[in-house]
């Protein structure tokens, strides 16, 4: 029933978009779908109504659902006035693929059946590959092919993980997480371990964990800006969710330490790869993509450390999604101003278009974790947890990697914003508004949710 609610409006709107084929109507459709998604997730949040418990959505799902719908709303707002050179037919396909993408992410987030989650994650791959290849030139085709192929292999391995999990269970197996939890103790430990590793590799491909991240910088840099924002802010989290739930199952079967060690291993590997490549990359959208890899690594480290750091992981996921989406949307504006993706060829953004320049700088400050960014709190908590558990060497490594990433990002951000420029550029107001909303909600929302709604 729940999935019907999620899919009915996209289906209806897709029919309209396909019949009418008008690009103005299509942006309006995306915007209204995104507003509906946002209001639905706010309605789920309101504690008085108890909608969430009635529909069987737990707080973990709700948290990620809220992130996705806020991002989607900002993307819808941004696209309202964003200039695009799509034909009417193309824009209909774009709108349909976009709605299918968001609806399948929604399905994967609220679902608690591992089989269904798997199906929805697979659908996100298909829908978003359409979106990535949208500009139809050589690079975007290459990016879409790599994305589709690598993620399909990943998703196939995740399916092997699901199959092995069924083998691990005693009679009358089930893939619903609550039921798997009830079986704790009677699950075969060997098969559970193997299954967890397969799922970590499978879904980890989609999360973009190093060394399975090769598709990510290509896809993020070639997709149109609104799509990159959704990919990095929402899709990566969607694939992370089943891993977090599987970690819970491992802990219930007293193999939590193995899951935690693997999380830490992949987390640090991702941070390391990102730190190395960020120094070298010249394309600013690829730079942001590597920063996403880094942040997914940090979230994994947080969950690997557990307890208070686990909560920091949630905050980090929310903060990273909002800030990175704002960053990607701004990068779309920067691209439309300069028409180049190499940051050495762009300069003087602050004098050419001050608002975008400031948004760019603020997004940079927040993504490297300067207060009032929520990432400051989460990274602080992680360092605290590392010291608390006596891992001083890991703590040093964490801080050094963070610093070198901040250096790499800072070099690029300053190169773009500083410098002189005689020209002036004006952009439509929705392109300023969307990143601003995202940055503001990144600052406020996590605390609001934790203090008032007791997550």
């Amino acid at each position: 029933m729940l999935y019907l609610y999620i899919w009915i409006i996209p289906l209806l709107f897709s029919a309209i978009a396909w019949l009418k084929k008008s690009s103005r109507l299509n942006t309006a459709i995306i915007f209204s779908h995104s507003s509906l998604c946002l209001s639905a997730s706010v309605a789920l949040l309101l504690p008085g109504m108890g909608l969430a418990t009635k529909l069987g959505i737990d707080s973990l799902s709700l948290w990620f659902l809220l992130i996705t719908s806020i991002l989607y709303f900002a993307v819808g707002l941004y696209s309202l006035q964003h200039k695009s050179n799509l034909t009417d037919r193309q824009s209909s396909i774009y709108a349909i693929a976009m709605m299918a993408f968001v609806a399948s992410m929604g399905g994967a987030i609220v679902s608690k059946d591992l089989g269904l989650i798997w199906v929805f994650v697979e659908t996100t791959t298909l829908a978003s590959a359409m979106l990535i290849s949208f500009e139809h030139h050589k690079q975007s085709l290459e990016a879409a092919w790599k994305y589709l192929f690598i993620c399909s292999i990943g998703i196939a391995l995740a399916f092997v993980g699901v199959l092995l999990l069924i083998i691990a269970m005693p009679e009358s197996p089930s893939l619903v997480f609550d039921k798997i939890m009830q079986m704790k103790g009677s699950i075969n430990p060997f098969w559970l371990k193997v299954s967890f590793v397969f799922m970590l590799i499978g879904f980890g491909t989609k999360v973009g964990l190093a060394p399975l991240h090769f598709w990510l910088p290509d896809a993020h840099s070639e997709a149109p800006a609104p799509v990159s924002a959704l990919l990095s802010g929402a899709l990566l989290n969607t694939a992370l969710l089943p891993l977090i739930r599987m970690q819970g199952i491992m802990q219930a079967n007293s193999m939590g330490h193995l899951a935690n060690e693997l999380f830490l291993l992949f987390g640090f590997a991702s941070m390391f790869i990102a730190a190395v490549f960020i120094q070298k990359v010249k394309n600013y959208k690829r730079l942001l993509a590597y920063s996403s890899i880094e942040n997914m690594g940090i979230i994994l480290i947080a969950f690997g450390l557990g307890e208070l750091a686990g909560k920091a992981g949630m905050i980090h996921a929310m903060g990273h999604s909002m800030i990175k989406a704002a960053f990607f949307l701004t990068s779309g504006s920067v691209y439309s101003i300069f028409g180049k993706k190499d940051y050495n060829l762009c300069s003087g953004l602050l004098s050419r278009c001050p608002i975008i320049g400031w948004l760019w700088l603020i997004a940079f400050m927040m993504i490297v974790g300067m207060p009032p960014s929520p990432l400051f709190v989460s990274e602080f908590n992680i360092v605290f947890a590392l010291v608390g558990s006596g891992n001083l060497a890991l703590m040093m490594l964490f801080v050094i990697l963070l610093a070198s990433i901040a250096y790499g990002l800072g070099k690029a951000s300053l190169a773009i914003t500083m410098g002189k420029s005689d020209q002036r550029s004006k952009l439509p107001i929705s392109e300023y508004l969307a990143p601003t909303i995202l940055l503001l909600s990144a600052m406020i929302l996590p605390w609001l949710l934790i203090v008032y709604l007791k997550f």
């Binding site: 697979e122 085709l141 290459e142």
Partner: protein, 211 residues
């Protein structure tokens, strides 16, 4: 009966390591599709009517007819050279296939003791097919061969899901959706479009985007 089919499936994997022609890999895929169809039929009594009909129809239509036909069609349309052009020698590839079999059966026999619902021959062959598919993807440069590797891997996954189909029938139909994903992968756009923009459909060509 089932054992013979499983062994034939294993043999087809060995044959895939020594052949040099794309068309014979396609033939292997057709044979594997038919073998899987017969294996599914042997499971009739373990599934309910509708699910069985769906899965059986899917295996014969997608695995044995539609996808191989798509691949042959793509090869013809794009004038792809008919040799496989692997980056490793046949000898090496056969040797590694043997190692893969040894590993898969080792895992299957070793772990089969602890869980009674794992039938070692079935599990071993399925696992070997998954690894072989990955091996083909790694050891080749042509995109079309990558697709075939993916197909072989997926046949292995389908077989694994058949092994536990009696306990959880609809997991098999889930596995079927992997097939549909693959046919979209081939059909929707990629090979055709990519070969329009790139001269040879080779993974070496896909190197504009790199760091």
């Amino acid at each position: 009966m089932a054992d013979i089919l499983l062994m034939l499936f294993g043999l087809s994997l060995l044959f895939a390591s020594i052949t040099n022609m794309l068309t014979s890999i396609v033939r292997i895929l057709v044979i594997q599709g038919i073998l899987l169809f017969v294996l599914t039929i042997l499971k009739t009594n373990e599934m309910n009517m509708w699910e069985f009909a769906f899965v059986a129809l899917e295996t014969i239509v997608f695995k044995a007819v539609l996808i191989p036909w798509f691949i042959v069609d793509t090869i013809n349309k794009n004038g792809i050279k008919r040799e496989v052009e692997p980056s490793v020698s046949n000898f090496f590839s056969l040797g590694s296939m043997t190692a893969i079999f040894a590993f898969a059966f080792f895992i299957a026999l070793w772990s089969g003791k602890s869980s009674p619902n794992v039938y070692p021959l079935h599990f071993g062959v399925a696992f070997a097919a998954i690894l072989k598919g990955l091996f083909i993807i790694i050891a080749n440069k042509k995109l079309i061969t990558h697709l075939m590797g993916y197909l072989i891997m997926e046949n292995g996954i389908f077989m694994l899901s058949l092994a536990i189909g009696s306990e959880m029938p609809h997991i098999v139909s889930l596995g079927v959706s992997l097939d549909i994903l693959l046919s979209i992968l081939i059909a929707v756009l990629f090979i055709n479009k990519i070969s329009n923009s790139f001269e040879d459909v080779d993974s070496d060509e896909l190197s504009i985007l790199k760091d």
